[in-house]
């Protein structure tokens, strides 16, 4: 459960204040499927970063699962990211020297999960994205769609409560793109809260809710159809 109340985010650029987000209030219930849309510079990336605890709001409140996380220090935010949030990026962000399995294992290595436990969870996560037979391949031996699947396995292996996908199909061809969206939707149906940032109306149109941002404010908030 995510609750944003009167959230603003201002950046100081030189002597100018850029208001990236203004008075954003928003509730995302568990298991929701939300598309964040809007033109470049509308503040959707900033909102995604704040939702993902990579950035902190200038003012306002961000309650994640009943806990105020908007003003936590950096090391506590890191712990929140580790346990509650999964990221999927446009450019995959796999570590090139590690195999698919090792990339999936990475968040558990950072969190100090025991090796035996890590192995079973890696196997499960890779099979959930259909890449069991690619476990020992390095990213440069995988196709774009496969790389994004590894990234999704990595994002979900810690059992987060929310999955944040930033243009997950932006770097993929149509076929792989829709495969990725179907995979994300399947995980959403299994209970994972899903927030997708996208330019693509076709991708956004599939979400249960669409949130349109214009100039840092919520323009429309509702069902697509």
């Amino acid at each position: 459960m995510i609750e944003l109340r009167d959230l603003t985010r201002h950046f100081q650029v030189g002597d100018q204040t850029v208001r990236a987000l203004q008075d954003v209030s928003l509730t995302i219930t568990d298991g929701d499927y939300l598309a964040l849309m809007g033109p470049s510079g509308s503040g959707k990336s900033t909102l995604l970063h704040i939702l993902g605890c990579l950035d902190r709001p200038t003012s306002g409140s961000y309650m994640l699962d009943g806990r105020e996380v908007g003003s936590l220090p950096e090391s506590d935010l890191a712990a929140v990211r580790s346990h509650k949030i999964g990221f999927v990026f446009q450019f995959f962000h796999l570590v090139p020297r590690l195999t698919a399995a090792e990339n999936v294992e990475l968040p558990m290595v950072l969190a100090g999960v025991r090796p035996a436990e890590r192995r079973t969870r890696v196997t499960r996560a890779l099979s959930a994205v259909g890449l069991t037979d690619r476990a020992a391949h390095r990213p440069d031996q995988l196709s774009g769609g496969q790389r994004q699947r590894v990234a999704i396995a990595r994002a979900t292996v810690m059992g987060p409560s929310i999955l944040l996908a930033d243009e997950p199909t932006g770097n993929l061809d149509r076929a792989s793109g829709s495969e990725i969206i179907e995979l994300l939707e399947r995980m959403n149906r299994e209970g994972l809260t899903l927030v997708v940032v996208t330019h693509d109306p076709e991708v956004g149109g599939r979400a249960r809710h669409i949130l349109k941002l214009v100039d840092g404010r919520i323009a429309t908030d509702g069902r697509p159809r």
């Binding site: 950035d55 890191a78 570590v95």
Partner: protein
Amino acid sequence: MSALDLLGFAWRALRGHRLRSSLTLLGMSIGVGAVVLLTALGEGARGYVTNEFLALGSNLLIVLPGRTETTGNAPIIGGTVRPMTLEDCEAIRRRVGRVRRLAPLSVGSARVGYGEKRREVTVLGSTPELLPVRHLEIGIGRFLPDVDLDRGAPVAVIGRTVQSELFGSENPLGQPIRIGDWRFRVVGVLAAKGQSLGLNMDDVVIVPVTSSMRLFNQPSLFRILIEVGAHAEIDQARREVLNVLKERHEGEEDVTVLTQDAVLGAFNRILGALTLALAGIAAISLSVAGIGIMNVMLVSVSERTPEVGLLKALGAPPRQILRVFLVEAVMLSAAGGLLGLLIGYLGASILSRLFPALPAHPPIWAVLGACVLSLGAGGLFGVLPARRAARLDPILALAGR
């Protein structure tokens, strides 16, 4: 993140850039290797000198004219100097009971000729006891005859080089040679010995001490070498020798008596300082290697900025990022240090094989110091890049900025 995971992660990161990692490693290993090898060289030089002195026996007293502070350095002659004579030698032999052997020594340089051949040679004047005191051996013939000190017989013993230069394959025994304007008869040839205490014993001619003093018109002896019975008696003997000579020189202490220990101690100090200086020079290359590590880590951090952003997004707190990069740096320097030790020890053992006289063993303080320094360099020079990584903004880092 467990220690094992940290090591594994760092290892894979380093392996990902083989050339870069191995060059940095090479830099560090050269630094450590230089410390080990150079200090081994310094210690080898010290061991060499020590052995040279010990070869003469540790119960040797050296008397030289003139007062010096007994630092073992070149004598600084002060006060009026009376000649140190053969009569002084006789007095010492008579009155100092602990003297086992005594050899007066006069030194000069003269042109030595046989037939048409000539050679500029160091001429030593002494007595038969020089042979055991300086641990010399006779190759062919015999050494100086045992006759009264003041009867300078015109006989000479020549070194191996002098023999081959003047006589070639001819038998030198019984042949006449000219030393300056004087004529001597060759009675023996020294066995090859080579350099000993700064004098090439193969390129000398030894004649009776009276002859050489007359030949070079020297009123005083150059040295008196005294061998005492046992090492424990050396200080007592030294005092007695001083007393005898003081008495004979009208109550003035105008000679210096050096013990082997004093000379050796002085050399040890000098060569110890040399070793330290060498270690210092090598430490500079070690610190340069440390800067090399810092450079490589900085490059690595800026190259892996998106990876740092990813690690942060995956939930790594700043201090964990710091640890990841610090472990990489220390791993590089530790591996370099180990390789350096190997290189250093290998070099030292090759050196002591090539020059058996030079006991080139790296001192333990230098080895430990090099290890600590290399690890420290990795840690110290790794901190800056690691902190830079830890402080990266995750959003900018993910974007590769």
